[in-house]
């Protein structure tokens, strides 16, 4: 009996589990539901992935890879190390403290000869010329004459050009023989290596980049604030007017937004130059004399005016989209409870527009920091931004490593500011539209 009871208990206890193990819930085709479900979701996931794949590849190929490739150049430059193998080997074994002996010069002669044959001497010369200005022709002309060089090479090469007997040049070559270097970051922050390899500031007259970074950030912040002051009432008007008026006004905001940047910039030149419409009007009405025409273009004012105008829609649109969602009843309620119009605005209305303000300021600021065409056209000498110098190194001096270092620093500053913004205001609070 007890046996039976035990048996029953046993069966009762075990059976449901047994059943679950032996006969799992299955799909219609007999495969376990869990497996079928996983398969189905995997399929859906794959389909979704395949759909976004073109965009992902596009972004990867046209955006991510080029940026990584470009940023790599800021610390990696193998122009010297890849083309001067003998010297690289020599520098590995010998620390340069004074002008080297015959062995070093023999390596130099062999490399110059090789570089001449491979047509890479220009690349090498350019790399060294970044740090020792004027050494370019020293390399190219020495390379042209290497065929006639006879040992002892030290005397022969120094006879070509006394500057080969300069320890600074050899220091630079040793540093350049390592493709990874901080030289470009140093240069991008107005510093350089001195004869002993210590980091020092460049001559005061040549300091330019730090000042320009600061200028760029201040100018961009200024432009963002001017945009905010100008855009706030406009956005408010747009959000509160009856639809048929606000639509018309919206067209006035969007029309310039759709117009080409160059057209708008040149229009500002025509308006504001010293013989332009604005000055003509002032002179015509006798407000100012013909000799005292205002210089509004080709300086910082020009940059600020043109950029404010161009970036204004980027402030109006996020503000508008936020203000549109604020019920007018809140302000009315505040007024009816006795708040003055200022208190109602400042305590009730304004706090609700903060997500729009945050988005607009951040958007305008970041766009302004990277602006380049407008300051180039109307900035003259005082209205230049760091991006103009990056463009200069990309296009004119062809020192891409320097451009990359400047770009990396700018990117870093923006990321820090973005992080700060997230800490202070919170990025989730941002509303772009």
């Amino acid at each position: 009996m007890s046996e039976t009871a035990a048996q029953v208990a046993d069966t009762l206890a075990v059976k449901p589990i047994d059943q679950a193990v032996d006969q799992p819930i299955t799909a219609a085709d007999g495969t376990p539901l869990k497996v079928a479900l996983a398969r189905a979701t995997r399929k859906a996931k794959w389909r979704a992935f395949v759909l976004v794949l073109p965009l992902l590849l596009f972004v990867l190929i046209t955006f991510a890879i080029p940026i990584v490739e470009m940023l790599t150049r800021s610390f990696y430059n193998d122009a010297f190390s890849a083309n001067m193998p003998n010297l690289v080997a020599y520098f590995e074994d010998n620390e340069i403290e004074s002008v080297p002996d015959e062995a070093g010069f023999a390596a130099l002669a062999a490399d110059l000869k090789q570089a001449r044959e491979n047509k890479t001497i220009g690349v090498v010369a350019t790399r060294v010329n970044y740090e020792v200005p004027g050494s370019r022709s020293q390399f190219t002309s020495a390379a042209r004459k290497t065929k006639k060089l006879e040992p002892p090479f030290k005397e022969a090469i120094i006879a070509l050009d006394e500057d080969w007997n300069d320890v600074r040049l050899w220091n630079v070559m040793q540093r350049a023989s390592n493709p990874i270097s901080a030289s470009f970051y140093l240069a991008a922050t107005d510093r350089r290596y001195d004869e002993n390899g210590d980091k020092v500031w460049v001559d005061k007259k040549r300091r330019i980049y730090i000042k320009l970074f600061v200028n760029t950030l201040l100018l961009s912040l200024g432009i963002a604030l001017i945009c905010l002051v100008l855009a706030f009432p406009v956005a408010h008007l747009l959000a509160t007017l009856p639809l048929r008026y606000s639509n018309l006004l919206m067209i006035f905001v969007l029309l310039p937004f759709w117009t080409s940047l160059l057209v708008r910039t040149t229009a500002w030149i025509a308006l504001l130059q010293s013989q332009g419409v604005f000055n003509d009007m002032l002179v015509g009405t006798g407000i100012i004399g013909d000799e005292s025409r205002m210089q509004l273009m080709y300086n910082m004012q020009g940059t600020v005016i043109a950029m404010t105008h161009i970036l204004l829609p980027f402030m109006i649109l996020p503000l508008y989209s936020v203000m549109k969602t604020i019920p007018p009843t809140y302000v009315r309620a505040a007024r009816s409870l006795g708040a003055t119009s200022w208190t109602a605005f400042w305590k009730v209305y304004f706090p609700q527009t903060v997500p729009g303000i945050g988005a607009g300021v951040l958007l305008v600021f970041i766009l302004a920091v990277g602006y380049y065409i407008t300051p180039a056209l109307v900035g003259g000498s005082t209205g230049q931004l760091i991006s103009n110098l990056i463009a200069f190194h990309m296009l004119k001096s062809l020192n891409w490593s320097m451009a990359a270092a400047l770009g990396a620093i700018l990117l870093f500053i923006i990321l820090v500011l973005y992080w700060l913004y997230d800490k202070l205001i919170g990025i989730d609070n941002m509303k772009l539209g």
Binding site: K119, T120, I121, G122, V123, A125, T126, N129, Y130, P133, G134, S135, R136, S137, T140, K205, R206, R207, I208, K211, L212, N215, Q273, S274, Q275, Y298, A376, G380, S381, T382, Q384, L389, F392, M394, L395, K396, S397, L398, N399
Partner: protein
């Protein structure tokens, strides 16, 4: 027998060449825009298209040398021929960014002088062939100047005597030389002075005396516009642009030749150009004696071949004699300075950096 074989191979290869060139191709030529591109279109592109059936796709840039490095490094070259300055030609060639040009393919002068002897000294390099000699000069609007007309570079810097803004190219090159000449350095000594720290400082200091009055330009078409708008009283400019505004458009502009900086413009082929063969053919065609002379009837730049000089006649208005307007005319050459290309290939980046720093300093 051997001679016959030689003839046959020559004939066959000639036939192949004719056949291949008979297939209409298209090349992209990048130049400096405005009146200058126009002169090349009339003198080179159009006749070449008419004779060969190929097409020239003309594009412009503020400086055609600048896109070359980016295009070659990215392996995406779209320019077949670029019109570039001397120091850029040397620099890009040294860095392996240009194709080499076979100078033996350049046609001889009509009198049989070999091309290498016919071109002005230095006009042919490993990777580029010059088409014109141009110069940076300064010019003024004579209707706005009362009293003595400016005659020297020192007058350009004299804002007390000649009030008004000054236009200058936003670059170190040519400005620094002109500043030194204005400061009293003899043209022959300019580069030895500019090689020293003090010399560079002296040039910058000289420019600083009028810094607040300078309006900076970047594209060659801007200075005539700045003068015409009355934005500047005087401006440095490429001499051909001023000539075309003055003679071609009847503007009251005058060129001052004192301390002009002479330079070559050269044709070069970027490494990996999509239509390299055709590009070489084009250069051979465009730099022949009569083509170079023809360009001079469209803009006041001197042809790079000696044999072209005699063929230079009238401007395309049919009445203006071109010879006295050429930068190479003896009367204009008295205080001229020939741009030292090696100096600039060496020091362009350094001086540009100092120039930029100076520009930004207040």
């Amino acid at each position: 027998m051997k001679l016959k074989t030689l003839f046959t191979t020559t004939a066959v290869s000639a036939a192949v060449m004719v056949a291949s060139s008979a297939m209409a191709g298209e090349i992209t030529v990048m130049s400096w825009g405005g009146a200058y591109t126009k002169s090349q279109t009339e003198a080179y592109y159009k006749p070449w298209e008419a004779e060969t059936g190929h097409k020239v796709n003309s594009v412009d840039s503020d400086n055609p040398a600048t896109p070359i490095k980016a295009q070659v490094e990215a392996g995406n070259v779209s320019i077949d021929v670029a019109d570039i300055e001397y120091s850029d030609a040397i620099r890009l060639c040294d860095e392996g960014l240009l194709e080499e040009i076979d100078t033996s393919s350049l046609p001889a002068a009509p009198d049989g002088t070999a091309a290498t002897a016919d071109f002005i000294e230095g006009a042919i390099t490993d990777c580029a062939v010059a088409n014109i000699v141009w110069s940076t000069v300064f010019a003024y609007d004579s209707s706005k100047i009362s009293g003595d007309a400016p005659t020297t570079l020192a007058d350009f810097y004299d804002t007390a005597k000649y009030p008004g803004k000054r236009g200058m190219r936003k670059a170190a090159k040519a400005n620094m030389e002109m500043a030194l000449i204005a400061d009293g350095v003899a043209p022959a000594d300019v580069y030895s002075v500019l090689e020293t720290e003090e010399g560079v400082q002296r040039a910058l200091d000289k420019m600083a005396t009028i810094k607040d009055d300078i309006i900076w330009w970047e594209a060659g078409a801007q200075p005539p516009q700045l003068l015409a708008d009355g934005e500047v009283a005087m401006t440095t400019a490429y001499n051909g642009r001023i000539f075309n505004a003055a003679i071609g458009e009847d503007k009251p502009f005058e060129i001052v030749w004192d301390g002009q900086i002479l330079d070559f413009d050269l044709y070069a082929v970027p490494k990996g150009a999509p239509n390299k063969e055709l590009a070489m053919e084009f250069i051979t065609y465009a730099t022949a004696t009569e083509r170079l002379a023809a360009q001079a009837s469209w803009i006041a730049y001197g042809p790079a071949r000696k044999s072209s000089a005699d063929l230079v006649g009238l401007f395309n208005d049919g009445k203006t004699e071109m010879a006295p307007h050429m930068p190479t005319a003896p009367a204009n050459m008295k205080t001229a300075l020939v741009n030292n290309y090696e100096f600039w290939a060496d020091r362009d980046s350094e001086l540009s950096e100092q120039f930029n720093a100076w520009l930004l300093a207040n």
